[in-house]
Point group: C2
Chain length 412, copies 2
């Protein structure tokens, strides 16, 4: 069937043809279908049984342009294949943290998946000051499982090369290359500066050659270090949570890249959430300090948990064989030192990518809601200044920062 843009009525007819859907939803004449209306790239529908609204699913269709902008920003529907592939791969590795794919139709660029109706977008939860006791544990597990298993540390060299070649995602990677690593570091037309953010501060960053070089080095690493299959857009808007569950959604930016990219982006979004509490908690009549402490503790636990679990996966994978990435000789000192050097490199990269994310979310096109929604322009600018300062410090000091405690000190 040729590609057709679906709408709420044609979608109902389509769904009748999918056995896994009819099995789930029952009476196909009594469905509620709603276009969610908040996708940046794609159209997203919630479909539920009128009789049993808990029997429900999500349909995501990629059109040949960016939904948020319209047909003036064409995009191939290739991203849908990338997303479905990544959902399935990540889902196989940690099914408890990735929505289940019920059906994928490459021709229609359409993914039908598990609906997370009891879950909230993490970014919204953090704006409300909510705490999720299992969040860091879950996210660090997700990161370790997905990043380890796509790499040369787990896959055979041939399988890894094959996987990297098969997951090229040039169009969406280009958006990252431009909007994360390039435009925010110069006075680009696509940037958006908040009204009260001092122009002198923006110029100071744009005229700092060391900072521009650091950003270019991270861009180079993103484009050339094909270490593992990344989610590619792992901010707090790509995570859905409640008190017991954590799900990572929307991997349409999935591509091979450096381990530190997903980790760094995620940590940076905890730092923007942290700074935003200077405004958000007092608005709710609360002292920001306790929740800010909790947010920094999450960032720290995510890194430390990821690092511990990644190393544990690595050690466990090599333990029963005579082979390690280094070779056959099981010299414990060499193995330990090499693992330390890899984790050190991932940490530096993580800090560099976090620095880019903090700066691009402040000066670049795409903002974070917790900061951009602040109506008091002075308060917003004060928070943005803190984001910029931390981003700058992380980028410039990434090779010298020893551990997460030092990062938290910088953040404070």
């Amino acid at each position: 069937m040729d590609f057709k843009t679906l709408n709420t009525s044609t979608l109902a007819n389509y769904l009748r043809t999918v056995p896994s859907v009819t099995a789930l939803l029952g009476d196909m004449d009594a469905l509620d279908i709603v276009e969610v209306g908040d996708g940046n790239l794609n159209y997203v529908y919630f479909v539920s049984s009128r009789a049993n609204p808990r029997d429900s699913l999500v349909v995501k269709q990629a059109l040949p342009y960016m939904r948020l902008v319209g047909e003036s920003w064409p995009l191939t529907r290739h991203r849908s294949d990338r997303e479905a592939h990544a959902l399935r791969q990540f889902g196989a590795l940690c099914p408890q943290h990735v929505p289940q794919v019920l059906h994928f139709d490459s021709e229609q660029s359409l993914i039908i998946m598990q609906r997370l109706s009891d879950h909230l977008i993490l970014r919204k939860g953090l704006i409300q000051g909510l705490r999720y006791p299992k969040l860091a544990e879950h996210l660090s597990t997700y990161l370790a499982q997905t990043l380890f298993h796509g790499s040369d540390l787990f896959l055979s060299a041939a399988a890894k090369k094959q996987a990297a070649a098969a997951t090229t995602n040039s169009e969406l990677s280009k958006i990252t290359e431009d909007l994360v690593f390039t435009c925010p570091f110069e006075d680009h037309a696509s940037n958006a500066y908040s009204p009260a953010l001092p122009r002198t501060e923006i110029e100071r960053l744009h005229n700092n050659p060391a900072l521009r070089v650091a950003a270019a080095q991270m861009k180079w690493a993103f484009m050339n270090q094909t270490e593992t299959l990344l989610h590619g857009d792992l901010h707090t808007g790509s995570v859905m949570v409640n008190q017991t569950d954590t799900y990572v959604i929307d991997p349409e930016f999935a591509c091979y890249g450096p381990f530190g990219f997903d980790v760094g982006l995620l940590l940076a979004n905890f730092f923007t959430a942290y700074y935003a509490q200077d405004w958000q908690r007092p608005q709710a009549g609360e002292d920001p300090a306790p929740y800010q402490d909790w947010l920094l503790a999450q960032a720290s636990s995510i890194w430390c948990g990821f690092s511990d679990k990644f190393l544990a996966l690595w050690v466990a994978h090599e333990a029963p064989t005579t082979q390690s990435f280094m070779g056959d000789a099981r010299d414990a000192d060499s193995l330990a030192r090499f693992r330390t050097s890899v984790m050190r490199q991932i940490f530096s990269d993580t800090l560099g990518f976090a620095g880019c994310e903090l700066i691009r979310r402040t000066l670049g096109l795409a903002k974070v809601a917790e900061v951009a929604s602040i109506p008091d322009t002075q308060a917003r600018a004060a928070i943005e200044l803190r984001c910029l300062r931390l981003g700058e410090a992380l980028l410039l000091q990434r090779h010298h920062i020893i551990d997460m405690n030092q990062v938290l000190d910088l953040a404070r």
Copy 2:
């Protein structure tokens, strides 16, 4: 036509069907066809017109196994596609240094190309103490042209990703991963130690965790830094020379990898040639010092020439546009600093790869003729010790060595 292993008589029939061949060779009933018999991986034939022996060409056929070992080491014929593609790409970039491809038949894994009958394999020339006045100039041009144009510094991000995905060469890359980066750094069964090489020295290297870690880091870089299309096996046996010309042959190991890999392997082979003169020149009744000075000068000129030409290509490519890899803003200081940082990284990688090559050519399976052919086992071992010491120093000090002068001091 199904794949058929050709021999000298069936090859004659095949050649009749190729117009570019009949046009060159004329009378197809009066050909001399000789199997060269020195290919490691493939069968190579020289074909010439009996009437005009200067009308001549080379035919290379890949069989589904490694020629040197036989059917017990199976290899897909995929390498022939990789070689033909690389010969054409490198040939388009510097036709003066790459043999011309007259015909490629993917089904038969057969490449017909320009014969270099007035040229000698560089390794053999260096054993004989021959000087090539244009060698460093030519090799540095070849390196700069091929390495620059395959990278994100020249290609669009999408074209580069496409090129990297299309040139996966897992089977031959695996040989490099094992035989260059892994086995030589442990007491592996595939290693071959020369009779008089002190066992204590071999054990000292194998029991040095810092060295094993450095080798593993270079292996990681080779497998994960997909920076540009490499030749992949650029030693002095892959170069054919005379007093006026330099050609680089045999790129069947071509794959995407770090800039420094080709440069480092090539430099290392000048260092093995340098040390081998301790034996080779006195054998010819000559003082080794002048020729050794010339060899080190070549290594230095190749690096410096490559570095200058690579930078010049980069600057020239970005000059007429408003765009650079860093972005639109033409801040001269940032551009210069970023270029310096990239060249610094290429230099460190070059030294690390040269170090691996020096050690693997001494302890690993594949030797270099200038050293392995020395019948005096004590003299050979003394030379091998110098190779090992330099390899070790380059690997361990690669981040701290400032320039080629320091490398030459270490070599001496």
